[in-house]
């Protein structure tokens, strides 16, 4: 029986459910010290002096500073970020020094005996502040990266449009809030370094360690421990913590473990980029798009880190899943003296799609055509051309997901019944239902996958065990299970004969980072090809049919291995035929394919407290093929809940460049009671380039609920609030303004 398409049980589920799975802090590492980080208290300044108070017994500790790092650079896109601040701090909580002690308690205590003396410099804390160029933090203009996407002639389009609608939208930081905080350990032996930890991208850490300590490929080994959630938050930051643990371990001559507590993790590590998005949209009187002029500004924080690629995805998704002959997207990410923002599920797209989707409400008001009809008029279909000039040849489910979400939620009926309900002043609440429709490109943007040149392999040992060899990590999303299903079916074997090798750079090839909704679609595709090659070899060795029992498989494997310990079949990335991208003009096939999702959000707003409660989310998502429907639905419900949090509860309060509420007590992520029941419809429009037709699903669900909720709040209250989060204070402020204007 084929495994693909079934809700096969989670591969590592029994270990996780029984408490046997070992996360980093669960590993008992003999002789291990505990490391802590001394951080900047100010957003910008020169370090004049670091004073170690003699009252503390420093001989018990190992201390590392910038001087202890051979090449003090955290390798990513640019070389601008030091592992430890060297003379100057560019954001609050920037690491300055490291301390290791045998006792976790004592290590934290030691931090209280260090004082840093600064010469403070004026900080740049917001996008507007950075744009003003009052202070220059980066290059000549504070711009980390700028992209320009052009199609047609946007100025001419706007001039010729009978209706032009303008809007400005603002979205805030968001904390990933994985329940396992960041944690890494490191140890050295004979000049070689091993790093183990909670991480998404083993080879990112591998590359960073090589640069920091001047090591060769073979001198660095990176092992993933069971990882308690990532959502992007463990994409790049483990380079930093891994480097810290390695620096301390190098100096101590002993293993060192660094495990952040919640408050340090929330305040110091990366978050979703805040953004300002401005739209000028030209339409015909009957609601057809003629021109979209979009400006995107993101806050990158103090160092470049991943901001250029976050901006790139935000830029390409900014027009939404609609065809428009004249488009201009002018996008920049700016430097500020705040902790660097980074990867978070959706990677720039939720920010720009929030604006694109909520803008339809404004257009609906201006044209008198409801937003559903407007979307239906303009949504992508097969053959549509995107803003980057990509022709959408196949697997375009935009209209299907929209119609399914509308139909299944009773959108039209509720829209009119809520209108009547809201007219009655005696009701204790207002009601609303709102829509959004989005697309999300699978895999790296543009030529990204070509540059990555990922490799993945399937091996068979003399013991008859089939192993999946990839650096793609299981972080809760189901990598292990999907890979075992794909490989089992490609081989025609039962799934329990397929094992997953733990991501360990000493054992698995570089299948690229575990990001960008690429694991199933891109790496799963590589594994399918590798498994096809193994299948051919196995057929030959077994005399024409694939053995179905472990013992028969073992016999065939012994023949196939011919004296070797194992036979390995590897596949490397090949771009799909006919896909072209030009980095210079930023045009062409931005992604091999897009996934599509629509949400209808049914909400009510308490007239006294202004609390928004989501009663129900109905969502349809076109993901090509659900390799495992239960896991796919789990991605949808989980991403939806994160987006509900972003829309309604999660409020990063920044003061003087630092988060003032870095606790789960006052940074509110949704509980079981805050999260609505969800109706999830998986739509399968197969993609010929994905394994068994699969497209990406990881990020898509995060893109779509927030604008639908804001649109529902618009119907409920009559106020279009162009910012998040929609906490009672925000609603109250807008409500008061509206009252005064009346």
């Amino acid at each position: 029986m084929p495994a693909v398409g079934t809700s096969a049980r989670r591969y590592e589920g029994p270990e996780k459910l029984s408490g046997r799975a070992l996360y980093l802090d669960d590993h008992d590492i003999p002789g291990c010290l505990f490391g802590v980080t001394l951080r900047s208290e100010i957003p910008r300044g020169r370090i004049k002096n670091v004073v170690f108070d003699r009252a503390f017994p420093w001989s018990e500790c190992v201390v590392a500073t910038a001087e202890d790092i051979p090449t003090n650079i955290v390798a990513l896109i640019e070389d601008d970020q030091p592992l430890l601040a060297d003379g100057i701090v560019r954001h609050a909580l920037e690491p300055i020094a490291l301390i290791a002690h045998e006792s976790r308690e004592k290590a934290y205590e030691a931090l209280r005996f260090v004082r840093v003396e600064y010469e403070e410099l004026p900080p740049v804390l917001t996008i507007e502040d950075s744009l003003s160029r009052r202070e220059i933090l980066y290059g000549s203009d504070n711009v980390f990266k700028r992209y320009l996407v052009r199609r047609g002639d946007v100025e001419k389009g706007l001039r010729e449009s009978p209706v032009v609608v303008e809007g400005e939208y603002r979205v805030p930081h968001q904390e990933q809030a994985y329940i396992e905080n960041n944690a890494m350990a490191a140890w050295w032996k004979d000049g070689a370094l091993t790093v183990m930890g909670s991480l998404q991208c083993p080879y990112y850490v591998h590359k960073a360690m090589k640069k920091l300590f001047g090591l060769s490929d073979g001198q660095v080994r990176v092992i993933q421990a069971t990882t308690g959630g990532g959502f992007g938050g463990k994409e790049e930051y483990p380079n930093m913590i891994g480097g810290h643990a390695a620096a301390l371990a190098r100096k101590a001559g002993r293993p060192v473990k660094i495990v952040y507590d919640r408050s340090e993790d929330m305040a110091a590590t990366t978050k979703r980029h805040p953004a300002i998005v401005r739209h000028r949209t030209g339409l015909s009187r009957d609601g057809r798009l003629i021109a979209q002029d979009i400006q995107v500004l993101m806050d990158g924080g103090a160092y470049v880190t991943l901001s250029p690629v976050v901006l790139s995805r935000g830029t390409i998704h900014a027009p939404g899943p609609y065809e428009c002959p004249n488009v201009r997207v002018d996008a920049s990410v700016l430097a500020t003296n705040t902790p660097p923002n980074g990867a978070f599920r959706g990677f720039g797209a939720p920010q720009t799609l929030f604006a694109a989707e909520l803008h339809w409400e404004k257009i609906a008001a201006a044209t008198g055509i409801d937003s559903l009809s407007l979307r239906r008029k303009n949504a992508f279909r097969e053959g549509s051309v995107t803003a980057t000039g990509q022709v959408l040849k196949e697997s375009v489910g935009a209209r299907e997901v929209l119609d399914l979400a509308v139909g299944k939620s009773g959108y039209l009926k509720k829209r009119s019944s809520y209108k009547r309900w809201n007219r009655d002043p005696k009701k204790p609440c207002w009601k609303g239902i709102g829509l959004a429709l989005v697309h999300h490109g699978g895999g790296f943007t543009g030529s990204g996958e070509v540059y990555l040149a990922s490799r993945a392999a399937v091996s068979i040992g003399r013991d008859g065990l089939v192993r999946v060899l990839a650096a793609s990590t299981e972080i809760g999303q189901g990598t292990n299970t999907l890979f075992s299903q794909i490989v089992a079916d490609a081989l025609g074997l039962p799934r329990d004969l397929v094992a997953i090798e733990n991501p360990d750079t000493a054992k698995v090839p570089d299948s690229g980072p575990t990001v960008a909704s690429r694991t199933c679609m891109v790496v799963g595709g590589l594994l399918r090809r590798a498994a096809d090659d193994l299948r051919s070899a196995l057929l030959e060795a077994a005399g024409g049919s694939i053995p179905q029992s472990r013992s028969k498989l073992r016999q065939a494997a012994v023949r196939l291995c011919a004296g070797e310990k194992e036979r390995r079949f590897e596949a490397s990335y090949e771009p799909p035929a006919g896909v072209h991208w030009d980095d210079k003009s930023y045009s062409g096939d931005a992604y091999a394919v897009y996934s599509y999702a629509a949400v209808a959000a049914d909400i009510e707003v308490d007239k006294t407290s202004f609390e928004v409660r989501v009663r129900k989310i109905t969502t349809a998502q076109d993901i090509g093929r659900a390799i495992n429907p239960l896991l796919a639905a789990g991605q949808v419900t989980g991403g939806t809940a994160q987006a509900v949090g972003w829309a309604l509860y999660e409020n990063v309060v920044m003061k003087n460049g630092r988060m003032t509420n870095p606790q789960l007590t006052n940074y509110i992520i949704p509980t079981a009671l805050d999260t609505p029941p969800m109706d999830v419809i998986l739509v399968e429009k197969p993609f010929s380039g994905g394994p068994f037709g699969a497209k990406g699903v990881g990020e898509l669900p995060m893109d779509v609920p927030a604008p639908a909720i804001a649109a529902a709040v618009h119907q409920a209250t009559g106020i279009l609030i162009p910012e998040l989060p929609l906490i009672p204070e925000t609603l109250h402020r807008y409500h008061d303004q509206t009252q005064r204007q009346r």
Binding site: L17, I179, G229, F231, R262, A641, I669
Partner: protein
């Protein structure tokens, strides 16, 4: 010295009386199934039973457990077989990254043992002290319903 019963075994602890129960379980007894997510009683990842009642073990000084019965996630399964609640979580997709899972399963198991209601609203209410960032809770609620349903089926079967 503190004497307590952990997962049916008599244990003793002779360190600081105010050491957190979670640290004693993890560091002194090497029961690492209990997880720390926040250290301030918000996330519930450290949920264990103290005399059968779920508590946040990050908020309990070990002295408070003197002479009492502590049960952790490790007590729910034996080497070969998962418990009813764990099995239901596996079947219904209630665990993803797994870090909130031990605490979540303990709270759900408490609900099962006290004969709690299988209504989704009631289950959401009892789970509201356990944060999960992966699942959006829907599959967790389904898992608990599954486990409670099994109990009810069993009960009905016995009557007949």
């Amino acid at each position: 010295m503190i004497k307590l019963n952990v997962n049916g075994k008599r244990r003793s602890f002779s360190g600081p009386l105010f050491k957190r129960l979670i640290d004693v379980l993890r560091e002194d007894f090497r029961l690492t199934g209990t997880k720390e997510g926040c250290g301030e009683g918000e996330c519930g990842a450290c949920t264990v039973f103290l005399d059968g009642e779920p508590v946040n073990s990050c908020l309990i000084p070990v002295a408070h457990a003197e002479g009492r019965k502590v049960e952790t996630i490790e007590s729910l399964a034996n080497a070969k077989k998962l418990g009813v609640m764990q099995e239901a979580f596996l079947k219904r997709g209630g665990a993803q990254c797994g870090i909130c899972t031990p605490g979540m399963v303990m709270t759900a198991e408490y609900w099962r043992r006290v004969g709690g209601s299988p209504e989704p609203e009631a289950i959401r209410n009892v789970l509201a002290g356990n944060l999960c960032r992966c699942t959006g809770y829907q599959h967790i609620v389904d898992s608990v319903i599954e486990a409670l349903g099994r109990r009810r089926k069993k009960a009905r079967g016995q009557k007949a």
